[in-house]
Amino acid sequence: MTSPIAPDLPAAGRMPVKPRASVWRRLVKRPLAMLGLVIIAIVLAGAILAPWLTGYDPNEQMFDGLTLEGAPLPPDAKFWLGTDLLGRDLLTRMLFGARTSLIIGIVANGVALLIGTLVGVTAGYFRGWIGSALMRFTDLMMAFPALLLAICLAAVFEPSLWIVAMVIALVNWVQTARVIYTETSSLAEREFIDAERTIGASAPRILFRHILPHLLPTIIVWGTLGISTTVLLEATLSYLGIGVQPPTASWGNIIFENQTYFQAAPWLVFFPGAAILALALAFNLIGDALRDILDPTQRGRG
């Protein structure tokens, strides 16, 4: 017969053993991911350097910022992105507003993602009464109108940007938790998790080393989707007077203040809207690339 331990040759006969470049190095090699990084860098730089990038004050209502009839100015050489209803420079407001929106989009969204993932993973892996309790609570949160909850929470605490971020996080984690729960419970049924248990792996090890990496694609998708939702939720809250207080600018409240004049002054909605879109897209592009890079079965593609 055949020699007992002759290797079972792979059908395709390819067995390359090549060293893997670091995640960062592989990330910057992808043009789309690079585009995402550039957009985020621009937004970050704009937010940090806002006072030096513009000669205007974000809250100053300028005389020459309005037409003689009192209408806002479209983009021109003086006001690059035009002015708003009160004659304030839109570009300046957007630069300063980027600070608020980045904090909301990243911090609030990140915290929401963190809570949602922890709740979902715990409930999905342990099931039993812990799982039931956590998921019933999640359902309760889902059934409760998010806006009402946000208003209640914001009324209790002294309004500030960070409180708003926390309020948004507390409202937004539920969807993530639901999705992560479903995925975790199907992952927990997979055979390699049983295999881990037979070699004596502890629950935390299984959760962090073997389940979490598989959830990464889902977390990334929800994370990027959450950016635009949270930025807009902040605007809703500030519109209701419980978010960031006027005249402080945020991308969301620029849209909200001006949306009724959309037909007369479309730039007032278009530019901040495009900014939110670009930010979400940038994170999405990076997320997509990260997902492929971190998934060993996708190696060698694209």
Partner: protein, 602 residues
């Protein structure tokens, strides 16, 4: 006896002098290519064959041989958009199927060529009743009214020997057993009396006794209707049982073609010879090792003692979701395994063999006593139990599913050592490298991921992982069932070698009697959660006492067309369910010694 079959010796091609001499299906120069990551790859190359009326042609080959792709190409069901027929013709009568568009092809599929798949559960729609699915295809292809179609459906079900056909029409796929579902699939395929039936591994997912039944059914129906059958299978036993003619494929090419008797008696190609040599056979098969008798094998200190093991799962139901039924998966199983011994646990799906393994590996809660190396697990604290568990490791059926696809294989093999805090980082690396070498892989493959290996190599990785902790007992749960026969033989050899070298004991769980006969020292046969027969391999195989054991052994298809059976061992009834109402316990079987430690239930 059926005279028609008797004077149609296997192999002699269908009657040449009749009109039927014109082939039903004529495939010439067929090439199929699939576009993948690294460009287009040919999966079937230059394949030509003819299928005569009423003939059974078996396409045999291992995974990746292109046999399923051939079937899908005939049906024009190649994976879209990657797969395509790059050249060649597929003639069904006068029409070249390769040139038809989707609309024209829909009229052919089902009506003139039908196909049945491996997994009957996934190929039936779970939310439609059997009757609805049967009549749907009949109505789509004929002008019959609904009630006529209904009648036709009942006839089709009767033809595949399904009892109470009328009431079955209202049932849903999950209410039927696996064998029943496959029979429904056959009924659907044959309801329109197609010229050609393509069966892609139709019995691979079924238990042996059910397999025999389905094969027999296929054979009878073919005789009655004169359907030509293309049977695709990796199982040479099934080939021998069914084929008139055989095509052996490898890497997309035809290696050998010929009458079944010739292929088995005088294989021409080297590959065919290897393939046949690797097939495990009951009796005088390759690689059979001497059976050690019970007295020698059971030394005083057993590796594992299982006493009166029970595993039950509660089912909730009713309005308040109370526990009202219970699955008695394992009922009072007792056995022990000595060092250096292989105990095989055999039985069909649902008999509780895998659940027993899981209880032993600590994956399901159980009642009863399990002692590993003399220490009873139930009396131990967490830390002590973890330490004892080190001595029991498991190799699962599907090596791909049981390896975390996001980890490097080197890390996976090192993980047990890491978890139990054995050895420093450097030593771990060395030990893992040594393990890799020992199981026939090279140490520089440690950096790769599981998907970069073939099935057999992955199972070697699982073996290395199980060996890392130097366990005293390795549970192999259907560990070679998913592998191709040639790979299977090599993995079995490896397991035997490792046993000699490390003195590890195996609990070898399998449904494949031929494999079991090759590797085991002792055999326990399970049925409905209980052991019905247990003894040394020779006792069980040469002198099976329990009727169920006899049936299991008889049902295994023999890879020899000259020993083809006219009638398969048949189940007189479906295997009953092991689910019972609360408070109801199944009757306990008492095992009696019929001599030499050969235990049989009476």
């Amino acid at each position: 006896m059926n005279a028609g079959a008797a004077n149609r010796p296997a192999g002699a091609a269908a009657p040449v002098d009749s009109i039927a001499a014109r082939p039903v299906l004529d495939i010439a120069g067929l090439c199929v290519s699939v576009r993948g990551e690294d460009g287009e790859r040919e999966v079937v190359s230059d394949l030509s064959f003819k299928l005569a009326r009423g003939e059974t042609l078996c396409i045999a080959g291992e995974s990746g041989s292109g046999k399923s792709m051939t079937a899908l190409a005939i049906m024009q069901l190649l994976p879209q958009p990657a797969g395509r027929i790059s050249s060649g013709t597929i003639r069904l009568g006068e029409t070249n199927l390769a040139t038809l568009n989707e609309r024209q092809m829909q009229r052919i599929r089902g009506a003139r060529i039908a196909m049945i798949f491996q997994e009957p559960m996934t190929s039936l729609n779970p939310v439609l009743s059997i009757g609805r699915q049967l009549t749907e295809s009949i109505e789509a292809h004929t002008d019959l009214s609904q009630s006529q179609a209904q009648r036709r459906a009942v006839e089709a079900l009767k033809a595949v020997r399904i009892s109470e056909a009328e009431s079955r029409l209202k049932q849903f796929p999950h209410e039927l057993s696996g064998g029943m579902r496959q029979r429904v699939m056959i009924a659907m395929a044959l309801a329109l009396e197609p010229d050609v039936l393509i069966a892609d591994e139709p019995t691979t997912a079924l238990d042996v006794t059910v397999q025999g039944e389905v094969l027999e059914l296929l054979r009878d129906l073919q005789r009655e209707h004169g359907t030509s059958v293309i049977l695709i299978t990796h199982d040479m036993g099934v080939v021998a049982e069914m084929a008139d003619r055989v095509i052996v494929m490898r890497h997309g090419r035809m290696v050998e073609e010929g009458a079944a008797t010739d292929i088995f008696a005088l294989p021409q190609a080297e590959y065919t010879r290897e393939l046949l040599a690797a097939v495990p056979r009951i009796g005088t098969g390759a690689g059979r090792q001497e059976s050690r008798d019970a007295a020698e094998a059971s030394k005083p200190a057993n590796v594992a003692d299982v006493d009166d093991l029970h595993v039950r799962f509660d089912l909730r139901g009713g309005f308040f979701g109370r526990i009202n039924r219970r699955v008695h998966a394992v009922e009072g199983v007792s056995f022990s395994i000595a060092p250096n011994e292989t105990l095989a646990l055999v039985g069909e799906s649902g008999c509780g063999k895998s659940t027993t393994a899981k209880a032993l590996a600590g994956l399901v809660p159980y009642q009863g006593d399990i002692a590993i190396g003399g220490r009873n697990l139930s009396g131990l604290g967490r830390a002590a139990r973890k330490a004892v568990r080190r001595d029991v490791q498991m190799i699962f059926q599907d090596p791909y599913a049981s390896l975390d696809p996001r980890m490097r294989v080197g890390d996976l093999v090192a993980e047990p050592l890491l978890i139990h805090g054995i050895a420093s980082k450097e030593e771990r690396r060395e030990r893992v490298a040594a393990l890799f070498e020992r199981v026939g892989l090279s140490a520089d493959q440690m950096e790769l991921y599981p998907h970069e290996f073939s099935g057999g190599q992955r199972q070697r990785i699982c073996i290395a992982r199980a060996l890392a902790l130097r366990p005293r007992l390795i549970i192999a749960d259907e560990s070679v069932s998913a592998l191709d026969v040639s790979v299977q033989a090599r993995v079995l050899d490896l397991l035997k070698e490792l046993q000699r070298e490390f003195g590890v004991a195996y609990l070898f769980i399998s449904h494949d009697m031929a494999v079991v006969e090759n590797i085991s020292d002792r055999v326990a046969v399970m049925y409905l959660g209980q052991i019905v027969e247990m003894g040394t391999r020779d006792q069980v195989f040469s002198n099976p006492r329990h009727p169920y054991t006899k049936r299991l052994i008889e049902a295994v298809p023999v890879p020899d067309p000259t020993r083809r059976r006219e009638r398969f061992a048949r189940l007189d009834r479906e295997i009953p369910s092991s689910t019972r109402r609360i408070g109801e316990t199944p009757p306990r079987l008492a095992l009696t010694d019929v001599g030499g430690g050969h235990l049989v239930a009476v």
